[in-house]
Subunit: 332 residues, 2 copies
């Protein structure tokens, strides 16, 4: 009876990104009914951002022929660090003025429904485990390659949050204590080698040091315009510089993935971010390199797959955690 009633309920999932916000309306099975994306307008400060989110969510609900009273709960994924128990954003590098922002309380007041707040990368991984590329697996690691490298860990079907809700900073696990200095202050972070930004920066660095490459022509001499996609496009044409950069990227990403596999023995590692469009040119050498860095039994248990939910992953996952782990957020 309770289950039947839950299965009819509708939930809002929100992904608050550094530039844009995505909001989805889903049912409790994770099926997306409708969605919207809009600029976060973060320059105007947290109060405005939250009001803007609430307005857009209400418009989405209305456009779907519903009222807010038809909505059971809402979940929001946000950059951190944050206190997901209390729903407070402690700080967020890409959101000016976001220090100790009471996101849960503010959104609950404006939306009139219970709200759960969690880390954006955690939500993205949860979305893929719940209804995406890792559906059906109980132990999952999600790694998103973007400006940085985000991570999310699900063990025994539950999101791993850690002692003060800062777990799964996989992008900031080190692959060389003498390696590249990261913005976080540590050395050799995975993010410094395997983010989309790092791939592009490695290419720029090689060219600055005098390597000749078709990438220079691709961007008409303005190497600041090189992206990870530029590297990929030159690599598939066997551009020597691009191949070296790509191989280096794969080597470090593989070490990062292997560490998660040897560390947590997951059924699935989901790789997300635009770079996954490289397909086999990414996944084939990645799997081969991971195989060499892991135990045979552990490797055999672990699928390494591209994400399925694209830009909706975080929002869908934010809905998923408030549906399945509502008691953590003290939701009725």
């Amino acid at each position: 009876m309770a289950k039947k009633s839950k299965s009819k309920k509708l939930v809002i999932g929100i992904d608050l990104g550094g530039t844009n916000v995505v909001a989805v309306l889903v049912d409790t099975s994770g099926k997306v009914k409708s969605y919207v994306h809009f600029p976060n307008e973060s320059a105007k400060g947290p109060e405005h951002v939250i009001r803007n989110i609430a307005d857009n969510v209400k418009a989405l609900v209305k456009k779907s022929g519903l009222a807010m009273k038809d909505i059971w709960r809402a979940g929001i994924g946000s950059p951190g660090p944050l206190d997901s128990k209390k729903g407070i954003i402690m700080g967020a590098v890409n959101l000016p003025g976001w220090t100790r922002v009471l996101l849960k309380a503010s959104l609950e007041k404006q939306l009139g429904v219970g709200v759960g707040v969690d880390n954006d990368a955690n939500c993205a991984a949860y979305g893929e485990q719940w209804v995406g590329a890792a559906k059906g697996a109980s132990n999952v690691v999600g790694i998103t390659l973007g400006t940085g490298v985000g991570g999310g860990i699900i063990i025994d079907n539950k999101l791993v949050r850690g002692a003060n809700y800062n777990a799964a900073e996989i992008g900031h696990t080190s692959l060389n204590p003498d390696g590249r200095l990261c913005k976080c202050g540590a050395k050799g972070c995975l993010e410094q080698y395997a983010s989309a930004s790092a791939i592009a920066e490695s290419a720029r660095e090689a060219i600055r040091k005098g390597a000749s490459s078709m990438m220079t022509e691709f961007v008409k001499g303005d190497i600041s315009k090189i992206t990870s996609k530029t590297v990929y496009e030159a690599m598939v044409q066997n551009d020597k510089t691009a191949v070296v950069v790509w191989d280096e990227f794969i080597k470090y990403l593989a070490a990062g993935v292997a560490n998660q596999i040897n560390g947590l023995n997951p059924e699935v590692v989901v790789i997300a971010g635009g770079v996954i469009n490289a397909g086999d040119r990414l996944f084939k050498p990645l799997k081969e390199a991971v195989r060499k860095q892991t135990f045979a039994l552990t490797f055999s248990a672990a699928k390494i797959v591209p994400a399925k939910l694209g830009e909706l992953a975080g929002a869908i996952g934010a809905a998923g955690v408030v549906i399945n782990e509502g008691e953590f957020y003290n939701l009725k």
Copy 2:
């Protein structure tokens, strides 16, 4: 009522090591009533080893004025890989002939009680979390520095076993994909830099390459006799070679610990093994180096402490998991 009856029960915990076996008799609060250790006699093969363990356990029970009917359950920690669900040892490098050994079934038959089998390093970490250095913490990482580097992970008070029970191989997480080749086939494993064996080997290598050191005198010229303790003793006397080796060890151990802290955000990281006798000379620089490699909030949540249970940790933990997670092992 059920709880009261459980609290009166007595349980056997066993730690099957590469050389010795430790067996403890504990109550369900983890209090050790008595214990015994004895050689594993592994040269005589698995059947003999299991009978030898059963005989010693029965003798321990008898010596404690009890009969096997007074024993509720038994747990055994073993080298792996293993299938802890079925209680089968798939293989064990230091135990000749141990391929697909039905350890659970054999011990249950000989002891007449339900038996749970789990990874030895997992059990050691669990023991420390249950009643040792991390008592009261829900999220704990245990790292044991010995011949190799063992690991165990507890999240939300539950042992993390992974998809096929091979999780927490922290010694085989890589800190350099171009680093030292490990016996496991991977490169740059933590074990290659932070095990007691690695510390000794780094010292030997430096001396072989011509470094002068008081360590050579300590072992009367036979550098094969250098151990991690030799390195420690020379280091505290400011022996230059020993200081370099020790600092290198700390650097890599810190990176390994930092990766667990950024990855899992635990309340406690327990470091075990003889090396912890170095006390402040280990823990002070270790904590400082970990601080630099982690986020401030995450670091602030994580105590880094020496193990408390010594050589009994694995046996106590093996008892603990069958007491607290009996349903996993299908124990009545």
